[in-house]
């Protein structure tokens, strides 16, 4: 193995023998993430369990010119933790997993980066508070990974995404020095707003060791419904009308016909497979009466716009049933074919019908299966391509289709990625969405903060 024995011993001195993984079988299991991309086996994997170990590890790796990737749970969908080419090192954060403080009075929490999102949300909930960001991977994703990718989730429309909860950060720079930004206060203008820059930095600027997150009081009441449409434009008009009426549902999800067919085939739950699309809508708030009023208004809007059928959940069991369609979207699609390419193109809300039409046209053009679901409230769609990565000819068509989906999203004034990140997968597209000056500026920024360009170099900006 190319990293010298002496260097490995130095890492072991900082950490301990079982925190330094050198065997091929162990290293191989850090060669991939959830993106369908070519894996790369790192030369070394280390698992610090204290902030001090983390800092020293970074310093030692940097001094020895090791290309470096920091990895949370490896669930990102853009190749953001596929190790760097050459003799690279992977630094794991999952042993840095302590919730350090939950402050009930000032409504914030301080956590280490390896804390699992849903475990954190449950811990906070047990104390009567609420941490809203809920990515589909929340049972496994780390808060560090959430910050580094600005993870969103179902509640984005009303409650925002991870960036809306980041109050402060401590992170290590390439020298292994600890940098602090933000604070435990609601207002803070001390220094640059470095936290904003670290949001969705994808491990390219610094490595978080502590995160201060905002908490909010939980909603006390909610109401869910499903609206069925035979025309996808009407679904989109409904979304626009709900928002124009100043109602912000906590979730406003969308499944297209193809997706519905897959879900129904998988669950046999009696979904309207003839529908062009369905919306799943949930409103919440602090008073039942207010929520009921909003729900009635939403129902009204759905009817007026022309929903074919509206099912309002009468109790918790019915609400659960309504959400089952959405929960089963990915499982149903994933089971249909061996490989699942989960895309993330995002367009302004009003462009959803145009985007879905384009996705369907592209599917036909390249003769591939695509089911689309997503967060209608934020225009964040997940066209999901079903294929078999072993079929190289088909996979080439898939790659072309993905390129065309990006093209279309940009034409519709959308963006390459709503929440899954740029990583390796979309780095080459950055110029197209922005311009060369933006890419150069970003590179200069990176060089200033990482002179040897070792932090996740092949990701984000290339």
């Amino acid at each position: 193995m190319p990293v010298s024995h002496a260097l490995i011993q130095e890492f072991i001195k900082i950490l301990s023998p079982n925190q330094v993984l050198t065997e091929e079988a162990d290293r191989l299991s850090y060669s991939y993430d959830a993106a369908v991309l070519t894996p790369k086996i790192p030369a070394l994997v280390v698992a610090p369990s204290t902030e001090e170990q983390l800092g020293k590890t970074i310093k030692l790796a940097y001094e020895n010119d090791l290309p470096l990737t920091v990895r949370g749970s490896g669930t990102n969908l853009s190749g953001a933790v596929i190790p760097e080419p050459g003799d690279s090192i992977v630094i794991l954060t999952n042993r840095l997993n302590k919730v350090l403080e939950i402050n009930q009075e000032d409504l914030y929490a301080v956590v280490e980066p390896g804390v699992i999102t849903s475990q954190f949300a449950e811990t906070v909930a047990a104390q009567g508070l609420f941490y809203p960001p809920d990515p589909g991977s929340q049972t496994v994703s780390t808060l560090g990974g959430n910050v580094a990718l600005n993870a969103g989730g179902l509640r984005g429309l009303k409650y925002g995404v991870t960036k809306d909860y980041l109050m402060g950060l401590e992170f290590f720079d390439y020298n292994g020095n600890l940098v602090k930004t933000g604070s435990r206060t609601v207002k803070c203008v001390t220094g640059y707003n470095i936290g904003a820059m670290m949001i969705s930095s994808e491990g390219t600027l610094g490595i978080f060791s502590k995160i201060i997150l905002k908490l909010v009081p939980p909603p006390k009441a909610s109401q869910a419904m499903m609206a069925v449409y035979d025309d996808i434009n009407k679904a989109s008009e409904t979304v626009a009308a709900i928002i124009a009426n100043h109602i912000l549902p906590c979730t406003l999800e969308f499944l297209d016909q193809k997706c519905l067919k897959y879900v129904e085939a998988h669950t046999k739950a009696g979904l309207p497979t003839e529908a062009a699309a369905i919306l799943l809508i949930e409103v919440d708030g602090s008073h039942q009466a207010g929520v009921d009023e909003d729900a009635a208004k939403v129902k009204d809007i759905c009817t007026k716009v022309g929903a074919k059928d509206i099912r309002v959940a009468k109790d918790a069991a019915e609400k659960n049933k309504i959400w089952e369609a959405r929960r089963n979207a990915l499982p149903a699609l994933a089971r249909a074919k061996p490989t699942t390419v989960l895309e993330d193109a995002t367009v302004p809300r009003s462009k959803i019908p145009a985007m879905v039409a384009e996705v369907n046209r592209i599917a036909e053009k390249y003769k591939i299966d695509i089911g689309t679901f997503g967060h209608a409230g934020d225009g964040n769609l997940h066209p999901t391509i079903l294929c078999d990565r072993r079929d190289t000819e088909e996979f080439k068509r898939v790659e072309e289709a993905v390129d065309e989906i990006f093209d279309v999203a940009l034409k519709l004034q959308g963006t390459l990625s709503g929440e899954h990140g740029i990583g390796q997968a979309k780095a080459k597209w950055m110029v197209k969405e922005t311009n060369q000056a933006t890419v150069d500026f970003s590179k200069n920024l990176r060089r200033a903060l990482d002179p040897k360009y070792l932090f996740n170099a092949s990701k984000k900006i290339i």
Partner: protein, 441 residues
């Protein structure tokens, strides 16, 4: 009966070719990583090679000859309880157990089995009399060596046996197994009009014979005819888990031969692991059976069920929750993986507990998280098994129960060991024991 044989790869290339037969299954893992949330081993070690996604990727790379060190892949493959939690939770519906069981068999065939495993799987388990004889003497001889570890839990420890037992706190062996006490049983259907084959399973037969007695009592009470031939052998799971599919198949075909002779409506067992193994693994190697065996396996697996499922779903015993006694015992229920995740049985045991006036059920956090026993996993990875068990123990004591109830003897052993080592005075019981105790006689 001809001995079964299975393919034994002689070279890495042959091993890779055998593993390629699993390629269609391996490729369906989409690397989402959601298995991290439920894998008990990963939950302790946070190592990717310990979670399903990591193991699948290792096997894929071994199949495609990217990695050439089969032994180190095997070592990681074996750090797994075969608990099925990952499969039950996998959004992509990957047939993980098929992958793991077949891969263990291929890799063990390549690597070879240790002498002790060979001796046990091929010479002890297939011979019920020898097995009963040996456990019988152990039962008599253990007396002087064992010291009570926890009276309430019912465990002992033995300093002189430390090389074999480690730090374990174990239940003591009864001097006579259930099967040597009863010989073969064959009674006619009574008022229920049903007859079942009783498959006690090694642990309820030899170690926790009280579970088999309770099962028999419940069946007798409800007028269910019982068929239990004396020459039933181990269901085969220990051999299969160690990759010895040859020994497994020989055990299976012995059992099939014994069982196929008789007429019965269901095959019931108080051992969730046996039930899951019969239903899921006996048919797994279909190609290795004779035509008659294939038919027998089909009919047997369709008839197999856990005792609580039989009581509630077939016999339809009255499970309306009644008023509780004023001194009802507060108990909590642990979902055995093989019961809930393999057989889908989680409502029935709870329904039984709730129907009994003497018990009040309180749910513990993570009731369906694996206890860490995993049969042979506990033998070969005791440190890990204990770490996993400690989390279960903490969940149990967090609701301050007077007893823990579960539905699988393997969990019973593990929970007893964990509680006893933590000095918790909490006895562990099987659901069927509670039920049988509530019956007259």
């Amino acid at each position: 009966m001809p001995e079964k044989t299975v393919p034994r790869p002689g070279s890495l290339r042959e091993l890779a070719q055998l593993l390629m037969s699993l390629d269609n299954l391996l490729v369906s893992c989409m690397r989402c990583g959601l298995c991290q949330a439920v894998c008990p081993v990963y939950g302790c070690t946070f190592r990717e090679a310990d979670v399903t996604r990591g193991k699948i990727s290792l096997l894929e790379n071994l199949a495609h000859e990217v990695i050439k060190d089969a032994n180190s892949v095997d070592d990681r493959l074996n750090r797994c309880l075969l608990c099925g939690s990952c499969q039950a939770n996998c959004p992509s519906g990957v047939n993980i157990m098929e992958i793991f069981i077949k891969a263990r068999s291929f890799v063990a065939g390549y690597r070879g089995l240790g002498a002790i495993k060979r001796l046990i799987f091929r010479h002890l388990l297939p011979h019920p009399r020898l097995f009963n004889f040996l456990t019988g003497i152990t039962g008599v001889l253990q007396g002087p060596f064992l010291k009570v570890a926890n009276r309430r839990v019912g465990t002992s420890k033995a300093a002189v046996l430390k090389p074999f037992l480690g730090e374990r706190h174990i239940p003591s062996l009864p001097s006579k197994s259930f099967s040597s006490r009863h010989g073969s049983i064959d009674t006619a259907a009574g008022k229920s009009g049903l007859k079942v084959a009783l498959f006690p399973g090694c642990v309820p037969d030899k170690l926790f014979e009280r579970l088999s007695e309770a099962t028999l009592k419940a069946l007798n009470y409800h007028g269910v005819g019982v068929f239990m031939p004396a020459d039933l052998v181990c269901c085969g799971i220990p051999a299969l888990a160690s990759g010895d599919s040859q020994a497994f198949l020989n055990l299976t075909s012995k059992n099939i031969q014994v069982l196929a002779k008789a007429e019965f409506d269901y095959l019931v067992t108080p051992c969730a692991t046996c039930a899951a193994n019969i239903k899921e693994n006996w048919p797994r190697f279909m190609a290795s059976y004779t035509e008659t065996e294939k038919k027998d396996v089909d009919s047997l697996t369709a008839k197999t069920m856990d005792i609580t499922q039989f009581l509630v779903s077939v016999l339809k015993i009255d499970t309306t929750p009644g008023t509780k006694n004023s001194n009802a015992q507060k108990v909590t229920y642990h979902d055995s993986c093989h019961l809930k995740k393999s057989l889908g049985v989680s409502a029935q045991p709870r329904a039984i507990i709730q129907s009994l006036p003497g018990y009040e059920l309180v749910e513990m956090p993570e009731a369906d998280r694996c206890c860490g026993n995993g049969g042979s996993f506990n033998l070969f990875h005791y440190g890990l098994s204990k770490d996993i068990g400690q989390r279960k123990r903490n969940n149990i004591v967090s609701v301050h129960p007077e007893a823990v109830i579960c539905g699988c003897p393997a969990c019973l052993m593990q929970l007893m060991d964990m509680l006893s080592q933590n000095n918790d005075d909490i006895p562990v019981k099987h659901v069927v024991e509670l039920y049988a105790d509530s019956l007259p006689g």
